[in-house]
Structures are given as C-alpha cells and as structure tokens.
C-alpha cells in the first residue's frame, strides 16, 4: 500500500497519511510515536499563510505594517491525490487577497510563510470545501488601524 500523502497535523502533532486500498483512497490519522491508527478521516484542511512584515525598526515616520493572510480549504478524500496542485493554486491566490486589500506593492513584497495541514473539525466550514475556500486577513498598521477580515471565494 503506497502512502500517497504524509503530513504532520499542524494542530495536534499526529500524522495524517493517505493510501490506496482495493482501489479506494483512505485517509487515516495516526499517532506519530506508536504508529497506531487513531481514526479515519474523510478529508484534510490545507492552509497557506502569506505574510507581509515591515517592522517598526525598519519603518520610517512611524508607519510600520504587519499583514497575515491565511487561505484554506477542506480537501475531501476524492481530491487528496491532487493536494500539491491545490496548495500551489492557493499560494498564488493568497497574493491576490493581499493585492485586493493593500495593492500590488505590498502584495509583491509579501511572502508565503508556510503550508499546514490539519483535521480539526471546527476548522472545517461547509462554505470552504474545495473548490471553495475561506480566507482570514489580519493587519496591524498603527495603534488605531488594526483590523481583521474573513471571506469566502471559489477557485
């Protein structure tokens, strides 16, 4: 049974693996140390974080800016084999969200901080099942300009 997906759950530290058994893809949550299966999953939440950081020690005229954007989707078991392509699309999409809020200059200077996978159920939203997605944006400009936004979109 070749393992087609192997990632560490970013929320709990357990392992998420996918393999094909009798022509069917199975996703399992497994304990990282004992290798015992904990339970079967029917999808995985994949999230890409994009960050723009212009900290106070660089910023002139008291104009620091910090932006965090997270784009995530729930990848059901039938799409788990294409998870790398899906995550690549989200990496590009996260720049689009920063562009929408802050313009192309900030988007160009932002960077993808990382990708994480999890199975935690409160994070699975019905509006954000692939190909739909959810994004969260948090920014802190100066004391009175800090805001957060949440929205949904479709690839």
């Amino acid at each position: 049974m070749p393992v087609t997906f192997y990632e560490i759950d970013a929320e709990t530290g357990d392992e998420i693996i996918a393999f094909t058994r009798r022509g069917e893809t199975v996703i399992m949550l497994r304990d990282a140390y004992t290798k015992r299966f904990i339970r079967r999953l029917y999808g995985v939440v994949a999230e890409v974080t994009n960050v723009f950081e212009y900290p106070p020690y660089y910023a002139k005229r008291s104009n620091p800016l910090y932006v965090d954007v997270k784009v995530g989707t729930y990848i059901p078991v039938e799409h788990i084999q294409q998870y790398k392509e899906i995550v690549d699309k989200f990496k590009e999409g996260s720049f689009g969200i920063i562009n929408e809020f802050f313009g192309p200059d900030i988007a160009r200077q932002s960077r993808i901080a990382g990708v994480e996978y999890t199975h935690i159920e409160p994070y699975i939203e019905p509006e954000a099942i692939y190909p739909e997605y959810v994004y969260y944006a948090i920014w802190h400009h100066y004391k009175n300009d800090e805001k957060e936004e949440k929205g949904y979109g479709r690839l």
Binding site: A10, Y33, G114, V115, E116, K150
Partner: protein
Amino acid sequence: MDGCERYHILKIDVDKPLSKEELDKFISEGRKVIGLYGYRTLKVRAHRSNHGWHIWVHIEPSVTYETLILLQHLFGDDERRTYYNIMRSRFKYRYKFNILFNYKLPLRKTVTP
C-alpha cells in the same frame, strides 16, 4: 470559535538544532515549569523542522488564549513567535495564526519601500 474558546495543546517552536537527548531534557524541564502552575501533561509529540524542532504538548485542564501563549513562552517557545501571538491576541481569528508549519518556505528579506 468566538473569542472565549479554550485550548489544550501548546505548540512550541524551537529554533535550535538540539540533539535527541537535549530535546528530552528541554521537554522535561518545560513539563516541570508548567507543572508548577498546576497543568498536567498528557502527551508530547516532537518533529524535526527546518531549524530545530516543533513540539506539541497536550495539557490538562484547557486554558484561554492568553494563558496558552504565556505557557508556550514558559515552555521555551521562540520569542518572536510569542511577540506576534501577543500582538494578535486582540483579534477574533487569532486562533488561526498560532501555527507550526509543516512546510516552510525560505525567508526572503523584506525590501524597504
């Protein structure tokens, strides 16, 4: 999740290339420190990251976000991460950003506009 949620997993980012023995010592010291405040460790999972280790500590009882960040700091979390976690503590979606990345892309220096 609406801001009064409770958490039971500490996520520790150690950006030092500790050996297995050093990591065991680090974890046991951290467990002692949070034990002093009455928190019991149920399970610890550690995985190698690009620069060191990512550690997940399952504790009991569950705590608020602010206490979680302080406990993470006491356990030995990265200072920079603690700084940003505290900065985000006013936000509603703060729980989405206390993260340990499975796959981290290389850092690119921010260009001064």
